[in-house]
């Protein structure tokens, strides 16, 4: 009987080879970035643009750049659904489109303002795609952004993903990847906040030997797009986005510039690290209010003028100024969200729910959309400056001062 079982297993071996799902790598077109727009020809149709890596371009560096093929292949197709448009791409693509390595999903502004649901639904359904794929709203047509230059890499989709990765240093994005966006989309209170992109004219030079300069359109991070459930309401500026980053971003590492204590016309740059945000809610007669407490560590990174202050005085004054600056930035962002967009992209509904579940389930939840714009929010910051980065004392001009303190 064991022999029979062995034969059965041997016979099943060809069945285990997975022929149905076999994909040779040379037959695959690896998507690096995808852009989704509403079609200009038919507003009910979607225009899908893909940026596909071209492996043939990765040849020897000795090859003449004139003969070397482009590193990416860009193509667009239309369809009544996104899936239909992607299938249409097969009519012009010599390789099978594969999504597993896609880095970024760029959504055109007109589509974002209309309804983002199809984009989130299609890409969260797609088993090939990573949930950590970045998402962005383009200020304009997504197609234009896929054709533009991004960063320093030869594949713009990859460079764009790298740009997202480093936004903890600017506070211009709070990790707006498919995982977070999908989580907020399916949440019963929190609305979407997705990074936005704009195009700027940039001058590039091909190499030291080439004196000819080109002006090209280059992608830059440009604040975030605010949504109300499914539709985009508008944008947050860079400063407003930075304000929210203090308590929404994970591990923000941002630099603030504050007036120099000795000369307010000059600045001091303080790098704030190890930022922790604590959000508490209080209920008074069913009306919630919030307190945001920011704590962090500062390092003085740049002084634009000299001073005779002792290091301790300098640190104390810088701590106070940094705290004020952070509070101002946060209030700027909150003001836009509460008074202009009136959309809970901050997750404050979740905070009330977690801290006052009884009141939340007894009606606060149903009234949250009306209540949110009127909530009171107090902001406090506590920054401890621990070092002045390599220096033991504030920058001196010894021709002007001879006092050296500890």
């Amino acid at each position: 009987m064991k022999t029979i079982a062995l034969y059965v297993l041997l016979i099943s071996l060809p069945l285990l080879s997975g022929c149905w799902d076999m994909r040779e790598i040379n037959e695959l077109g690896l998507v690096m970035a995808v852009g989704i727009d509403k079609s200009s020809n038919n507003p009910d149709h979607y225009l899908v643009t893909v940026q596909v890596a071209n492996p043939q371009a990765g040849g020897s560096s000795a090859d003449s750049s004139i003969n070397r093929p482009e590193t990416i292949w860009i193509s667009s197709a239309e369809g009544k659904t996104i899936f239909e448009a992607i299938r249409e791409l097969a009519r012009i693509s010599s390789q099978r489109i594969m999504w597993a390595h896609n880095n970024v999903i760029v959504i055109g502004e007109s589509l974002a303002r209309d309804d983002i649901t199809p984009v989130i639904d299609f890409f969260s359904h797609n088993h090939e795609l990573r949930m950590k794929t970045w998402m962005a709203v383009a200020k304009g047509s997504a197609t234009d952004f896929l054709k533009a230059k991004a960063g320093m890499g030869s594949i713009p989709g990859q460079s764009l993903a790298d740009m997202f990765r480093y936004q903890q240093f600017t506070g211009l994005d709070f990790h707006s990847n498919l995982l977070k966006v999908y989580g907020d989309f399916t949440s019963d209170t929190t609305n979407l906040l997705i990074g936005s992109l704009s195009l700027e004219q940039a001058t590039t030079q091909a190499g030291l030997s080439k004196v000819q300069e080109n002006t090209v359109e280059q992608i830059q991070m440009d604040g975030m797009a605010v949504f109300d459930q499914r539709r985009m309401l508008g944008y947050l500026s860079e400063d407003e986005t930075r304000g929210l980053a203090w308590f929404l971003s994970e591990n923000p590492n941002m630099v603030i510039s504050v007036p120099h204590p000795s000369d307010s016309s000059e600045s001091v740059a303080v790098e704030i690290v190890a930022v922790k945000a604590k959000i508490d809610s209080q209920l008074d007669q069913q009306t919630p209010s919030f307190s945001i407490q920011i704590t962090g560590t500062g390092h003085i990174a740049e002084e634009d003028t000299t001073s005779d202050l002792s290091i301790n005085d300098f640190k104390h004054q810088m701590e106070f100024l940094a705290e004020q600056q952070i509070i101002e930035e946060i209030e700027l962002g909150l003001d836009k969200v509460l008074n202009v967009y009136k959309s809970d992209v901050l997750g404050f509904g979740k905070v009330v729910h977690s801290q006052h579940k009884k009141e939340w389930n007894q009606g606060l939840k149903d009234r949250w959309v009306q209540i949110f714009p009127d909530v009171e929010i107090s902001v406090a910051a506590d920054i401890e400056i621990k070092s002045s980065t390599l220096n033991q004392i504030p920058l001196r001009n010894y021709r002007r001062s001879s006092v050296i303190d500890d």
Partner: protein
């Protein structure tokens, strides 16, 4: 039933987490989240506590009938014909339990890796594999428990490291949002998994070569299983949130799609699924074995075992294929009536047998455990 096949207590300890892990971490978590949202982890924890008590009750029952399976105990306690009926019901239960377990693997393959391969073929090959396991014997299946447990540990470690950065505690709050009674009521979904362990132990226990301290071993096996399994709904809620959990068929697969270890290892779900295969195999093949045993013991067909294994393979294949040919129907089936059937059987059978045995005075004398 006297049998030459014996398993050690260590193998028994390893087997229990393997009988629970595969379906509970993703599919049960999703089913529970659809009912109680962010309370999925508390509801499953409550179910686990109840299940631990029932497993200990089952071990207590076996301590009085150490050389008998649950089918044979039923015959002795409630009478021959009621006992045989119990055996037939259990045989059918184990066939469906095989389908529920096998489809954990087939779903992963069909939805994420072999999307174009016909579903029947995946079911067929997996049933063949488990059938081969039953042919070579339960001892060999149970030996895979060590690899299964190591796989469980590895998949848990890689999942936690890969998703920790996206974990948000607020997604788990407030605790017991839907209230304690709703949490208890919805804890029945984890009984779809607990029943496989409770009733599986009912068939496996007599195979133990040494039955000392099985109470303690079973308790610690359940503690280990609880830690290994409950970390999943906790992490799933913290990372993808209850709203997203409610959307998906295979939630654990969605969780591992989110895992990323630095920029150099952006995705590794195939590696994680490979860790997952041993434990799923142990669960499915044990259900297959238990079905064969139940059928043989209740029908009295103690000869022709290999024919029964082959015939049951057809039932196993059909159960697997028909249960999940429509993926949504599979999930509906697990929520209703499978969870209810499992709760009634796994809770009811040990309790009824203990009560009846108590009334009939069959629990009075503790037999001396046999050592082999």
């Amino acid at each position: 039933m006297m049998t030459k096949v014996k398993i050690s207590r260590f193998q028994y300890f390893l087997l229990i987490p393997n009988l629970l892990f595969a379906k509970a971490i993703g599919i049960t978590a999703g089913v529970t989240a659809r009912s109680v949202g962010s309370d999925a982890w508390t509801s499953m924890s409550i179910g686990f506590l109840l299940g631990t008590a029932i497993i200990l009750a089952m071990v207590y029952l076996h301590s009085r009938f150490p050389e008998k399976t649950i089918v044979q105990i039923s015959e002795e306690v409630v009478g021959k014909w009621l006992g045989k009926l119990t055996g037939i019901v259990l045989a059918l239960f184990f066939i469906l339990a095989f389908g529920a377990s096998a489809n954990v693997m087939t779903m992963h393959l069909k939805e994420y890796f072999l999307v174009e391969t016909p579903f029947w073929l995946i079911c067929f090959v997996y049933t063949l594999l488990c059938m081969y396991g039953v042919f070579v014997g339960i001892e060999n299946i149970v030996r895979f428990s060590l690899f299964g447990l190591l796989g469980c540990l590895l998949i848990n470690i890689t999942m936690i490291f890969g998703t920790w950065g996206d974990f948000d505690l607020i997604n788990l709050l407030p605790v017991l949002d839907r209230g304690l009674s709703a949490n208890i009521a919805n804890s029945i979904y984890i009984f779809g998994d607990l029943a496989m362990a409770i009733l599986g132990i009912g068939m496996i226990y007599p195979l133990l070569n040494n039955k000392d301290k099985t109470f303690v071993i079973s308790f610690w096996a359940m503690v280990l299983s609880g830690i290994l399994i409950l970390i999943w709904p906790i992490m799933e809620l913290g990372v993808i949130g209850s709203g997203a959990m409610q959307q998906y068929v295979v939630v654990c697969m969605q969780q591992v799609r989110c895992a990323q270890l630095t920029g150099y290892l952006p995705r590794y779900e195939l590696i994680m699924v490979s860790f997952f295969t041993f434990t799923t195999f142990v669960q499915s093949a044990t259900m297959y074995y238990c079905s064969v045993q139940s059928f043989q013991q209740s029908s009295g067909m103690l000869k022709n075992r290999q024919i029964i294994i082959l015939l049951l393979a057809i039932a196993m294949f059909l159960a697997t294929f028909l249960m999940a040919n429509d993926h949504n129907n599979y999930i509906h089936f697990l929520a209703y009536p499978w969870a209810q059937i499992c709760t009634i059987l796994s809770l009811g059978l040990p309790v009824v047998l203990i009560m009846t045995a108590l009334i009939r005075g069959k629990l009075k004398n503790k037999p001396t455990p046999a050592k082999t």
